[in-house]
Symmetry: C2
Subunit: 390 residues, 2 copies
């Protein structure tokens, strides 16, 4: 895949893992419009603090990402390491350090090995090429089992425009922000403040609606650069903007889907559609409580058609409703009607053996709606996380 | 154990499990002061609705409890089953049905087999005896691996007074209310409104502070009866009340401890002491987020001294603090200082191999304090809950 105006590359720096790409870069051929949105954690990693300040400037040249160490809770030394990384790269790219956004993923409390990083940079830059994006997508992974990539192509004012995105996810995924790391590039021409709005709105419809374990990271970052290199195609208003937004949202939603599908130890993906809540806020509370409940998620894993677990989660969610007004559909099975069993156990059990299905829960208390993606809790989730560091 | 003025018994009704006690009763020899507190779920089970109405009357004769079916989300039929249970027992005890509190635990959405229950009642009553309390404690269990019982004896105005309590827990344990079912009896003499206050205050310090999986049941109930049969010992005021409260709290706290110790699949028990939060509310948010985080709980299981998981949970908890002011002690190990690693990995790893230890987290942002008990997430939790119904 090529996106005009960008090059990418990745190398094996050996930060934590051996024999795999773990240091990646995407560069724009010249300074371009960019934006970023970041974790809402009180404990923001050093690269998050760095990048959110740089994103605000609206223009830049490169994303640099490493996997293995999070550079979070690393104090003044971590801040200094960010500055050193950006400065070293900026020297090699002949641009100001402020034109570089950084992202790290890995173990919290561990610094990145800045000497290795600096030593690897020339080699990394020597490999920059227009079709290096797959390598970049590979280099940002930790416990992910596969890279997550999505591309959309649209026609804007007669020019073909591409939007490419990649993400890493796995554990520690939850609203807000659900992706550990997400990167988008496009050769559309669009201004930075609009890019930021698109990230905020898109994240709310995608990454913020997936949950694997309810935990949110210190490092969650979502970034975008727009080169405008696909030809004169200003996407700043009207139909062009609408088309661009829609395609960007498709990329983000698909990446969020892939993240959930690849949740740590996940064996099933479940879409939860909450309807008829008193308002949107209560729909969100109800959907999120169901999506994060360990008892619900273990029933998903077991394929146990036990709707009582859903009732339990809804009942404690904080949403207000009449327990005997709840209707629940499992795919097209009318599973629960007016809060009670509808004698569909056998059919429901069949659905719950599938690797992907949907729950439509109507609280019949109003017009509030919300939708979330979740996955099951398997013994593998625990195996992965009981010893993630080692 | 004997508590003056009470008898208890249990039988094998075969509601769900075979060859085990699953229907239990405690009766007072005459109507006595009583009180109850119940789940805050919007979806309250039929016996919860029944018993909370009866508790409000302040006086009664008996607790009747079954394990196997929750009689929750069972609609008008479930309500009728409660009335039939209470009426049948009342006839046999020659008292009004309003003098009976009911409690059920088991699968949500399943009715109790009321015909079996009615048929078993005469046999149950024929076995009532002062030392039947252990059988009662056994009959209320579901996935618990052992009964939870605690007794305190105190001297009030020269008389020895007993407070006996039992509980069932395991999964679906969380604030509020943390016990699936808890029952207390005492031969102290104390009025119903005071009993209720003691339950409310005691639950806040005990059952509401334990968490196994963050899930709260439709059936959580905590009940107490006070016979006054230990002699003239009014515990309604002054030092006697203070002593009685203290002993009651000891019973409740110990039962909550036993519930967490016996959490589904739990291999370790961890006390989380949050200190230095901006206020109590933030201390509670921070403590609860740490206690319920799947990533923290899997690290507990693995014995992985990964303090970054705690930082992650604190950061997303909603509490406000300076990330570089956090101090964390693991038992007596100064594990994290000013938000950073304190080079105690080896000592910390030793502590985390233990089956019981404590975390002292100081946010250094104010005077808010809160304490919780939690346990680890093990693969066994998932195995139990993937197929609990079958």
């Amino acid at each position: 895949m090529l996106v005009k105006g960008f090059k990418a590359a990745a190398v094996e720096a050996g930060f934590k893992y051996k024999n795999r790409l773990d240091l990646g870069i995407i560069t724009a051929d010249a300074p371009v419009a960019w934006a970023g949105v970041f974790t809402q954690s009180v404990c923001r990693a050093a690269p998050v603090i760095w990048s959110s300040a740089m994103a605000a400037k609206g223009r830049g040249r490169a994303f640099l990402a490493n996997a293995g160490q999070a550079n979070a809770q690393t104090g003044p030394a971590g801040t200094k390491d960010c500055y050193r990384s950006a400065a070293a790269l900026a020297t090699l790219l002949s641009c100001p350090a402020t034109e570089i956004m950084l992202a790290s993923t890995g173990v919290i409390g561990q610094p990145i090995n800045i000497s290795i990083l600096e030593a690897k940079l020339p080699n990394l830059l020597s490999q920059l090429r227009p079709d290096g994006l797959n390598d970049f997508a590979q280099a940002i992974l930790t416990t992910d089992t596969r890279p997550k990539i999505r591309t959309e192509k649209i026609k804007l004012n007669g020019h073909t425009v591409s939007i490419w995105g990649c993400a890493k996810g796995s554990g520690m995924i939850a609203p807000n922000l659900a992706t550990m790391l997400g990167f988008l590039i496009t050769d559309a021409e669009i201004k930075a403040p609009l890019l930021r709005n698109i990230l905020v709105e898109g994240a709310e419809m995608s990454f913020n609606r997936v949950t694997i374990d309810g935990d949110t990271s210190t490092n969650d970052s979502l970034m975008i650069m727009a080169s405008g290199a696909a030809g004169m195609n200003p996407a700043d208003s009207g139909e062009a903007l609408a088309k661009f937004k829609e395609a960007s949202f498709t990329v983000m939603k698909n990446l969020a889907y892939q993240i959930t599908r690849d949740g740590e130890g996940a064996t099933r993906l479940i879409t939860i559609r909450m309807r008829g809540a008193k308002n949107t806020e209560e729909a969100k509370l109800a959907a999120r409580t169901v999506a994060e409940s360990p008892l619900v998620k273990t029933a998903f894993f077991g394929g146990d058609a036990n709707w009582g677990r859903l009732i339990m989660a809804l009942g404690r969610s904080g949403a207000t409703f009449d327990p005997y007004a709840i209707d629940i559909d499992l795919d097209d099975i009318p599973w629960v009607r007016q809060g009670q069993d509808n004698n569909k156990e056998k059919a429901a059990s069949m659905v719950m053996k599938k690797t992907e299905y949907g729950l439509l829960i109507n609280l019949n208390a109003g017009n509030g709606e919300y939708e979330m993606l979740t996955c099951d809790f398997s013994p593998k989730y625990i195996a992965i996380n009981a010893s993630y560091r080692s």
